[in-house]
Symmetry: C2
C-alpha cells in the first residue's frame, strides 16, 4: 500500500508507474490543491483521495512526498505520528541536505532522500505519465541513519518505475546539482538579461544563433518553481555561484592580459571535459552478486552505496542479512554488469570490506 | 569576377553558392594552407587557385576575405595596391570594429564589413555547402566611409546566397555578438569546468540532465577558433563580461539576502525576454520601394541601413542616384513587406529624411 503526498507531475507519474507495474496496487493520494488528488483518481492513477496527509499515510508501507521542496519538512512533521511501524518514506526534492537532516530528525532511519532526474516542460496531474522515469537516474541520498530495509525498498520503487537508482551523499548531491542545474539556470537567465539590455529585439533576433538558443532555452522555465528550488539549496548554490564567478574573473584576467595561449589551453580543457562527460559508460549487463561481512553500525550502507554511485555502478538490489548474534551481518548487493561489479569490489576492498563475488541465484 | 581569400568552410560555401547562382562565374581562390584552394577547384567551387592573395584579387570586382578574424587586416594591406578600380571588398569575421577601422584606413569606401550568421560543426573546404547561408542573417556593418555602390554589391552577394542582409553599426554589432555569442561561449566552458571540479565523472553523468547538456553543448567548440574570435573582439568581450559578472553578483545578493520575491520577479523578466526574443517577426512580403533625397555625404548610408537593421526591416536592394549637380542625390531602397517598409519610413522621417513610397517597377 502506497501513499503519494503531492499528486502533480512527479507524484502522479509515480502513481501511474506503480499502477502499470501492479494493476491492483492500492495507492492513496493527497494534494493540498483542491481537486488535484480527485483528478488523480479519475485518471486511474490513485485508488482513492485522502482528506489529509495524516490520513493518507495511515495504512501505507511506502510514502512518497512529491510536494515542492519547501513543504517536505512540514509534511514529515505532520505524518510522523501517523506512520505504520516499518513504513518507509522518501521524497523527490531537487536539494537534499537540509531535507534529509530535518526528515531524519523526525522519521529516523525510515526516511531515504530521493531525487528522480526526470521532468517535463508540462506540469500537473494531467501531464503525468507512467514512462516519465524510464531510463532516468534516480538519486538516493542515504546517510549514516538510513536503514538498509528502507534503502532497499525505495531503490526497488525507483527500479520498478524503470529508473536507475544510484546513491550519493546528500551534501555531494547538493553541490553537484548546484553546479549542474541551479547555476546553469541562473546563468541562462543572466545571459538573456544581459543580451536584451544591449539592443533592440530585432537586432538580437538576427544575431542570436543556435548557440544562444541552446544556452538560454532553460531561461523560459517557471520562475516560481525555480525560486523554490534555489531556496531549498541556498547554501550550496551560493558556494557554487561564488566558484563560478571566480572562474569568470580568471577568464577576464586572461583576456585583459592577452594571455591567449593560456586561454586556449583552458578552453581546450573544458572542451575535453564536456566531451568526456557525455560518453556514457555501459552500465547494463548481467547481474553480479557481491557479498561482504559488515558491522551492524550506522553508516555502512551509506558508505557502500555512495561508493557505488561514485563509480557509476548501478545497484540493482541490496539487502543486509543480520547475524543472529547481533553486531555483525552480511551485506548482499547486486550490480549490473561484470565491469562495474569488479570496479566496485576493488573500491570496497580498498575501504576495508572483504568482498566476495558470486552469481545471483 | 570574384576572389575568395581563405577557402575553408565559409569561403568555400560562398564560392559554391555563387557557382550555383551562375554556373559560369569566374571565382579565383587563395588559401594560405597548401592544397586547400586546389581542393576547392577539384570540388568545382573555384575556377582557379592563385599563388598569392595579391594575384587572386588582380582581376576581381568583388573580393571576399574569409580568413580567420586575426588575418583580415594583414590581407587588406597586402591586396590594397593590387585591387582593380571599383573593386569592393568584404570579410566574414565575427567581430567588426577593429577590422572595419583597419580595413577602411587601407581600402577607403570600398570595404564593407560582413558577418554571415551561419556555420557548421564541421570545418574546411570539404564541409562547404552552397546552402550554408540559406535563410541566415548576414550582418553588414557600413560606416560613415562606406560607399553605396559597395554596400549594394555586398548586400546583393549575401541575398544571392540566400541570406538576409541586415545592417548594424560596427560597435553595436560587437557589443551584441559579445552578449549573444562570446560570453555564452565562455559561460558554457566555465560551467563545465565548475562541474567537473565538483565530482566524479559518473556522478556528474547521472545528474547532468538535458538542461546542462543544452547549456554546455557549445563548450565542445574549437578552442583555437574561439581564441581568435575573442581576441578580435577583446574590448567588447571584456565590457560584456564585466556586465555579466555584475548580474551574477546581484543574483548572489538576492539569494544570500533571501530576497525571494525579487528573485522571482527577476527570473520572470528573463523568462519573458527569452520567449519574446525568439518570436520571429514576419519579414517576408512584397517588395516596397522607398525613395528619399539625401546629401552626398559620408554617413547617410550607414544611418539609413542601420536604422533598417535596428527595426528588423530587410533591405532587399539599395542604390544612390547621384545628382548631376553634385552634393545631392536620391537614395532608393527596397524593403521586404509593407509593415516593415511603413515602420522604416516612419523612423527615417523622424531622422529628418523626406521618404516617399512607391511600388517597385
Amino acid at each position: 500500500m502506497y501513499a503519494i503526498l503531492g499528486t502533480g507531475l512527479i507524484g502522479g507519474s509515480i502513481a501511474l508507474g506503480l499502477r502499470r507495474e501492479d494493476a491492483g496496487a492500492h495507492i492513496v493520494g493527497f494534494d493540498l490543491a483542491p481537486g488535484v488528488a480527485a483528478r488523480g483518481v479519475e485518471r486511474g492513477a490513485l485508488s482513492s483521495s485522502a482528506p489529509s496527509a495524516a490520513e493518507a499515510v495511515a495504512q501505507a508501507e511506502v510514502v512518497v512526498i512529491a510536494t515542492p521542496a519547501g513543504a517536505v519538512a512540514d509534511i514529515c512533521k505532520e505524518i510522523a505520528p501517523h506512520l505504520k511501524p516499518g513504513a518507509v518514506v522518501t521524497d523527490v526534492a531537487s536539494a537534499k541536505s537540509s531535507i534529509v537532516e530535518a526528515a531524519e530528525a523526525l522519521l529516523d532511519g525510515s526516511f531515504v532522500g530521493g531525487h528522480p532526474m526526470a521532468g517535463s516542460e508540462r506540469h500537473g496531474i494531467d501531464a503525468a505519465h507512467p514512462d516519465l522515469f524510464e531510463d532516468a537516474w534516480w538519486i538516493l541520498t542515504p546517510s549514516g541513519a538510513t536503514g538498509s530495509e528502507a534503502y532497499s525498498k525505495i531503490a526497488a520503487l525507483a527500479s520498478g518505475l524503470g529508473a536507475k537508482p544510484v546513491a550519493l551523499d546528500p551534501a555531494a548531491h547538493d553541490a553537484l546539482v548546484a553546479r549542474l542545474s541551479h547555476i546553469p539556470q541562473l546563468t541562462a537567465s543572466a545571459l538573456v538579461d544581459a543580451a536584451v539590455s544591449a539592443g533592440d529585439r530585432e537586432a538580437l533576433l538576427g544575431l542570436a544563433a543556435g548557440g544562444f538558443r541552446d544556452v538560454t532555452r532553460i531561461a523560459a522555465s517557471d520562475p516560481k518553481m525555480w525560486v523554490s528550488i534555489l531556496r531549498s539549496n541556498r547554501a550550496a548554490v551560493m558556494e557554487a555561484l561564488e566558484g563560478f564567478a571566480k572562474r569568470l574573473d580568471s577568464l577576464g584576467d586572461l583576456i585583459a592580459g592577452e594571455r591567449w595561449d593560456e586561454l586556449e589551453r583552458w578552453l581546450a580543457g573544458a572542451r575535453r571535459a564536456r566531451i568526456e562527460m557525455f560518453v556514457r559508460p555501459d552500465l547494463s549487463g548481467e547481474p553480479v552478486l557481491l557479498t561482504m561481512p559488515v558491522l551492524d553500525r550506522p553508516g555502512v550502507l551509506a558508505e557502500v552505496t555512495t561508493a557505488a554511485g561514485r563509480i557509476g555502478a548501478n545497484i540493482e538490489d541490496l539487502r543486509i542479512v543480520h547475524s543472529t548474534e547481533g553486531g555483525r551481518g552480511r551485506l548482499e548487493i547486486v550490480i549490473a554488469g561484470r565491469g562495474a561489479a569488479d570496479a566496485l569490489a576493488q573500491v570496497l576492498n580498498g575501504l576495508g570490506y572483504a568482498v566476495e563475488r558470486g552469481g545471483v541465484d
